[in-house]
């Protein structure tokens, strides 16, 4: 009775990659508790997703009910509590996406569990102490949960997606009695974008103050992003200046990204920004100021005028 329950997240009818990364953490956790990895799929008409998740875990619980059609914390937390009981789970985990951040603390309250947010992994080869970033990523805290049931959200960029197992796990239907909800799901407005999502993109190009004015985002950054099929990010300074919308902000108070390639254009590298991108595999910095802090973490630095370099780079790609 010390299983690990992974709560799945759906994105437009398929299993989110972030959930697959959370399964990797769950397997590590289950090896420590001596339990099995259970999955949980919530929604309506989600049998296909349950089958998909079953390729990666030992058992999948699926709660397929109309009341769970839309992902609302109020109803989902109740279903997670019921599934944790059914699965004999002592660890309940989910990727720290917007949905995971919303629902998991509420589930923790129902489970009387302590919760560790945004976990980077276990602190050592044994034991249950975990590492998590605090203070805008400037400090790593090692934390331990003292409650019997432990709720944990995992940072998706820190784990590889779990591979499929040789044979799929068992899928079990679970029925949950939900209290009448006091929340109504009105609508979801998708932000239409031709570009990949910032947090999923393999390449991210970010612009900062060095671009001098808002008009240089479409003029310089967009053509380069088009060539690389990249998402576009920005520093807080240019978001505050109103050059680009807030959802493009990479940093502690914006989005945390860890792409394969991160190109920082005209960005100095304030603590706040660095916290959001230092997990990137390869970092390129283009800035005419050789003293810019961004060069202290860039793999490749180009000290030159971005107005000359960026068009040349775009052309030669």
């Amino acid at each position: 009775m010390s299983n690990v329950l992974v709560v799945a997240e759906l994105s437009e009818g398929s299993l989110k990659r972030a959930t697959e990364t959370c399964v990797t953490f769950a397997k590590d956790a289950a090896a420590r508790t001596g339990g099995k990895v259970h999955g949980l799929v919530l929604g309506q008409g989600v049998d296909g997703i349950a089958q998909e998740l079953a390729k990666r875990v030992d058992v999948v619980h699926v709660v397929d009910q109309e009341a769970l059609k839309d992902p609302m914390a109020e109803t989902y937390a109740q279903a997670i509590k019921a599934a944790a009981d059914a699965a004999g789970a002592t660890i309940v985990t989910m990727a720290a996406t917007a949905h995971g951040k919303d629902v998991m603390p509420r589930a923790a309250a129902l489970l009387n569990a302590g919760m560790a947010s945004d976990i980077l992994g276990f602190a050592s080869d044994e034991g249950m102490a975990m590492r998590r970033p605090i203070q805008a990523g400037n400090v790593i805290a090692t934390v331990e949960l003292t409650s019997d049931i432990k709720v944990i959200s995992t940072r998706p960029t820190e784990f590889d997606p779990a591979p499929e197992a040789a044979s799929p796990g068992e899928v079990k239907a679970l029925s949950v009695e939900l209290a009448p909800p006091k929340t109504r799901y009105v609508k979801f407005d998708k932000i239409a974008s031709e570009r990949p999502d910032l947090t999923d993109a393999t390449v991210v190009i970010s612009g900062g103050r060095g671009l001098k004015e808002a008009g240089n985002f479409p003029k310089l950054i967009e053509p380069l992003a088009d060539k690389l099929n990249a998402a576009i990010g920005a520093s807080r300074a240019v978001v505050d200046a109103g050059w680009v919308p807030n959802d493009m902000q990479v940093g502690q108070t914006g989005k945390v990204v860890a792409p394969n390639l991160y190109i920082a254009v005209g960005i100095s590298g304030a603590i706040q920004h660095v916290a959001g991108m230092k997990g990137s595999k390869t970092i390129v910095a283009i800035n005419k100021d050789p003293e810019a802090p961004i060069f202290q973490l860039a793999d490749y630095g180009l000290v030159d005028d971005l107005f000359k370099i960026v068009p040349e780079l775009t052309e030669k790609l």
Partner: protein
């Protein structure tokens, strides 16, 4: 309408905090303290709602005696009174349990909190509180068209309250979600909800006379035993600075052959 808003005293998030040499804690001596930026947005939202609907805004803080400064700042912005629960640093679960107790006493219609604090970054207290109370929740409250919108220029609240229900637009992955909740409810704020006002000089003067109830946490009779224990603090692994390249051609060459990033 009565609105409860929480404000946490945090270290200035623009500065780097030092770690004690033995890794047992953080060195906050000499640091500047500010209200958690997400909480300032919460206070602003509460004041805008109060302007529309009347009632009272109560600012609550849990922390050291010095957190009275952050409460006074909320009062200077326009809130009516404050409650300071004096305590050591509590984990989010204990914070939520203390707030449950205050909610029982105060019976607010709405609670607005920052989505996370910039010290601990846990992003839990609002959801835990809603869970304990069995109230509906809307986290990461935002605004359509964000801070450039006409509504923001007119200083309208993003949260719409009508017929005992609150409609909230939430910033989620890939878009915006709209929820409608029966009151009472818990809302947590994201960055695009509003531009918080600055306290005016008359506001600061008036704040000095506004009532603040100070209670030691022990007097509330709430179990504040932490469920999360921090064992150690350390620096994150630093990235080694790489090389400076002299030209675009050299950069492309390195990205292709060395980093295999293209």
């Amino acid at each position: 309408m009565k609105i409860l808003v929480t404000v946490k005293r945090v270290t200035d998030y623009e500065r780097k905090v030092k770690i004690a040499p033995d890794g047992s804690g953080l060195v906050t001596e000499g640091m500047t303290f500010v209200p958690n930026p997400f909480d300032e947005i919460a206070v602003e939202e509460a004041l805008r709602l109060q302007k529309q609907h009347g009632g009272e805004v109560v600012v609550v803080s849990l922390g050291s005696k010095d957190a009275i400064q952050q409460i006074r700042q909320g009062l200077a912005m326009g809130a009516q009174r404050g409650i300071l629960v004096e305590s050591e640093e509590l984990d989010p679960d204990a914070v939520a349990r203390v707030l449950v107790k205050l909610v029982e006493e105060e019976q607010p219609d709405l609670i607005i909190m920052g989505k996370q604090d910039t010290d601990n970054d846990a992003n839990q207290a609002g959801q835990l509180l809603a869970g304990y109370l069995g109230w509906p929740q809307a986290t990461f409250a935002s605004k359509v068209e964000g801070l450039d919108s006409a509504d923001e220029k007119a200083q309208k609240p993003g949260v719409v309250i009508e017929d005992g229900k609150a409609t909230v637009i939430r910033e989620v992955d890939g878009g915006l979600e709209t929820l409608q909740m029966d009151l009472p409810a818990v809302v947590t704020t994201d960055l695009r909800l509003n531009h918080p006002r600055f306290a005016s000089l008359p506001g600061i003067m008036k704040a000095k006379k506004k009532p603040v109830r100070e209670i030691p946490v022990a007097e509330l009779g709430v179990d504040v035993t932490p469920k999360v224990k921090t064992l150690k603090y350390e620096e994150p692994p630093t990235r080694q600075a790489g090389v400076t390249v002299g030209s675009v051609d050299e950069l492309l060459e390195k990205l292709k052959t060395e980093a295999k990033a293209l």
